[in-house]
Subunit: 206 residues, 2 copies
């Protein structure tokens, strides 16, 4: 396990990790995570099997890094939340998470049911970190941002997972309907949770 002795800024390291991630994503389109071997990944990536272990613990570690990278990219690309009011920000976050989840569902051969435990923690933790950074940078920043971020991240992630699962059986609920409901619930829930009422207002005193 010398996975952390490599320099992440080295172009060779970026290349190798990208190759392994790409190979894994291609394999996930037609095989289950369970049936994919490290040898498969290394062969498809044209990377030596030993090199794999220099970067990742095992295939689950690689999968974890892919999910986190994907979530991170989805947020930083499509959701610039600088100076956005709480309600609009929540709506944007919801749409991004929902889109990400359904994209994974579509490109992963049987959805993400197979690696749920891994998937849940990775997505939720990244979502939590992002929400927390956002809350702390809001003009009306307050004390208990960590608890609020926990509520928001788990609620959005959970609702998104439910929605993307139900999407297969009864695709009648549109994205906007689901998003509206979640945002409303979150806002009313937050009103009773948060002591400082200013936290919910738009950045009025900017």
């Amino acid at each position: 396990m010398q996975a952390h002795s490599v320099n992440p800024d080295d172009p060779r390291v970026r290349r190798t990790r990208q190759l392994l991630q790409d190979a894994m994503m291609e394999l996930m389109r037609k095989k289950s995570l369970q049936s994919i071997t490290v040898q498969d990944i290394a062969r498809r990536a044209a990377v030596n099997r030993v090199t794999f272990y220099a970067h990742f613990e095992d295939k689950y570690d690689l999968m974890d890094s892919i999910v986190r990278t994907g979530v991170h990219a989805a947020f930083t690309n499509s959701a610039p939340l600088e100076g956005v009011p709480l309600e609009d920000g929540l709506r944007l976050l919801c749409r991004t998470v929902f889109a990400f989840l359904s994209e994974v569902q579509d490109s992963c051969e049987g959805g993400h049911k197979q690696f749920d435990p891994l998937f849940e923690t990775a997505v939720q933790q990244e979502l939590y970190a992002f929400v927390l950074r956002w809350l702390d940078n809001l003009p009306a920043a307050k004390a208990n941002t960590q608890s609020v971020a926990t509520v928001i991240s788990w609620t959005i992630f959970g609702a998104g997972t439910d929605w993307s699962r139900s999407r297969e059986s009864s695709p009648k609920t549109t994205v906007e309907m689901a998003v509206d409901e979640i945002v409303n619930v979150l806002l009313s829930g937050l009103r009773s949770l948060v002591a400082d009422k200013d936290a919910l207002a738009a950045p009025a005193e900017k």
Copy 2:
């Protein structure tokens, strides 16, 4: 110049050469070969500039390898000439060369006029080598295959270049018309050139 001290079978070598070739082809779509620098190529390929010189003399050498690789791939992919009669083989060769030339013309910002000397020798030499292998493997193999291969390769390449140039100004002559004409000229020319008449026949005594 340690360009030949590297092992071509090493996966790292394959990767690096591919990255440099891809970067060069992307750059050729919007810039002239003259205005492309080695630094441009290395930067876009995410490869160190020093590494470039471990594989190629300069950008012209890289361009040369790209052309040769492309010609080789075009032949081996779309023209399996095993046991094909001479006339049909010539027709197939013509179509392949014509397609290759117009593809280059379209994807190279101003056609290949800018690097003609390099381009001509590379394409013609690869074409020559391919034709020679083909002729030597024909059942009715004969002595002067080298001269015949010279005639065939130069004729096809020259005609293809003329056609792809005229294609811009007056695109009335179709591929099939041009190919038919060249094949007919070649066949009649070969009849008077070749001593052994059997060489022109289909592989009858198989």
